[in-house]
């Protein structure tokens, strides 16, 4: 039986027509305006309006380019790097305005005002399940930094994206993806595949340590992004040591190694949340596959993958590894269109563009809602300083 994939030529697909691309982009434009607060009853403050419209246009133009060029990775990367760079600006500004420092004073912890990000979710599950206690100095209900809201957001996103969270929602990964994009070629090319197991080891260690010590051990000791968000106020030698660890991990895993390897090394080799999130790729309906009949293993996809989610063995099986975060780099680089977007249950390489579109509508809607809102907030902060 000849499938459509067998009939398709190997040449790169031609760009989509402008009008058809605009038509496909229209829902995202409307959605972006809605998410940026352009609805009845929304704030009419001029700066808020300007930052909202700029962000809505930014997200819409990137989606249009995805439609027009039929490629995903580079446009998604522009959004993701912008999110990674702008998030700390807005976040640090809010911290300094609210409490005058990036350090978390003990009073704020006692008051339950420590902002809760998604990173500690996996390490807090076991203590919560066993004792109904959340080992985190935050607030369960309440504001946008509340634990319940963040967990609710994460659950909804995970149902849609699986590990795609790490490409379309994480507000940290963009920093290293941006650094990795700077050098034209990798200085270190040979990477031991066993490093991929480290995030699982970190996850296991942090889960057990958090259960034993009843504290968010990862946040207290190992999170590299404390260097650019908030950290434990260095009241004593212990606090000083913690902050030195944060800075060294950030410098090594988020700056130096991505520059040398052109990979997202913190995500690939360290992040326990990323390892945990990989499990949810099993329930996600979208995945990347390799059409074995088209593939002549040139390994371009393996080299392009920023997360080391392809190996010779997995390519031979026609699959990505469980850590695949659906960024689209492998699809965009494949000269034979063997790497494809895929909906589970359907035939491999049968209408892959349809699978890509269905995934992108879901992923981009959430990217606009979460990352877009963060970007708009940071743009507002910047405009506030300029104007």
């Amino acid at each position: 039986m000849a499938t459509e994939a067998r009939i398709l030529p190997f040449a790169r697909p031609a760009p989509r027509g402008i009008l058809w691309s605009l038509f496909l982009t229209l829902p995202i434009f409307i959605w972006s305006l809605l998410m940026m607060g352009f609805h009845p009853g929304a704030s009419a403050e001029p700066l808020s309006r300007i930052s909202g419209i700029l962000t809505a246009l930014f997200m819409t133009v990137l989606f249009f380019m995805m439609m027009r060029t039929r490629s995903t990775y580079r446009w998604r990367r522009i959004f993701f790097v912008s999110l990674g760079v702008l998030f700390p600006i807005g976040f640090i500004h809010n911290l300094v305005v609210a409490r005058g420092t990036m350090g978390i004073p003990i009073e704020e912890m006692i008051a339950g005002r420590t902002p809760f990000c998604f990173m500690p979710i996996p390490i807090l599950i076991l203590p919560a399940a066993l004792t109904k206690t959340v080992a985190f100095p935050g607030s369960l209900a309440g504001n946008s930094h509340g634990i319940a809201i963040m967990v609710g957001l994460w659950l909804a996103f995970t149902l849609v994206l699986g590990k795609g969270w790490c490409s379309y929602a994480c507000f940290f990964g963009g920093i290293e993806e941006g650094v990795a994009a700077i050098p034209p070629r990798a200085k270190i090319r040979k990477l031991d595949p066993r490093w991929r197991l480290v995030p699982w080891a970190v996850l296991l260690a942090m889960v057990l340590l958090s259960l034993a010590l009843f504290e968010p051990a990862y946040c207290m000791w190992l999170c590299p992004f404390k260097a650019v968000t908030e950290y434990v106020a260095a009241r004593n030698l212990l606090g000083l040591v913690q902050n030195v660890i944060f800075i060294l991990l950030f410098a090594g895993l988020v700056i130096v190694l991505p520059f040398l390897t052109k990979k997202r090394t913190q995500c690939s080799w360290f992040c326990p949340f990323g390892a945990f999130q990989s499990i949810f790729n099993k329930i996600s309906i979208f995945e990347m596959r390799i059409d074995k009949e088209r593939c002549h293993p040139c390994l371009l996809c393996q080299n392009a993958c920023p997360n080391l989610s392809l190996s010779k063995e997995s390519i031979a099986r026609g699959e990505t590894l469980i850590s695949c975060m659906k960024c689209g780099a492998c699809v965009d680089v494949c000269p034979r269109q063997a790497a494809v977007w895929h909906i589970k249950g359907t035939q491999i390489a049968w209408k892959p563009e349809r699978a890509r579109l269905m995934f992108l509508y879901s992923a981009w809607a959430l990217a606009v809602m979460f990352g877009g809102t963060i970007i708009a907030g940071s743009v507002y902060t910047i405009l506030h300083f300029i104007v």
Partner: protein
């Protein structure tokens, strides 16, 4: 194969629907689900539930239930006392407090209340019952041994407190 493909596309369409419902419905719904689990923030951070209030005229002292840390937690057992509201406190506080409610004072707590809410605080605790440890010139040493001013005003106006955590000794 056709059935599996149909199911696959149906699931993909539902996924788009889930994405569209996330900001309006699902995040709030899941958050309510999390709240319905009956979880609470660890008492080492929150100080544990209040058990009674001791009226002291213009202000009062709230006594919390003693907090016993988990197995390998680095903190010691402690009890939290809240002086509230701060605006009603005299410049110098020296109160004998009956923590366990047996009619006898258990500790005498002494501290100054500076005008500047951000000024560092120091507390002396004299132990009148061996179940509670004495503290000299303590500041923000540990979660189980401290004096801090917590400004709850951001959440509930007028609810600022000075709280003292006193480590428990052997009974």
């Amino acid at each position: 194969m056709k059935l599996r493909a149909t199911l696959g596309y149906t699931a993909a369409a539902i996924t788009i629907l889930v994405a569209l419902l996330t900001p309006f419905l699902l995040t709030g719904l899941f958050a309510k689900g999390v709240l319905a689990l009956g979880l609470h923030v660890d008492d080492v951070y929150s100080g544990g539930p209040k058990v009674r209030a001791i009226p002291m005229g213009a202000y009062s002292i709230d006594v919390h239930r003693p907090v016993y840390p988990h197995l390998l937690q680095s903190e010691k057992p402690f009890v939290q006392l809240d002086w509230t509201p701060v605006s009603a406190l005299p410049r110098h506080v020296s109160d004998a407090v009956d923590i366990d409610g047996d009619g006898l004072p258990d500790v005498r707590v002494t501290f100054d209340v500076p005008q500047d809410p951000k000024a560092p605080l120091r507390v002396d605790v004299e132990s009148l019952n061996p179940h509670y440890q004495a503290m000299q010139n303590a500041g923000k040493d540990k979660f189980s041994r401290l004096i801090v001013r917590v400004d709850h005003a951001k959440d509930t106006p007028g609810d600022d407190v000075i709280l003292v955590r006193i480590p428990l000794g052997n009974p």
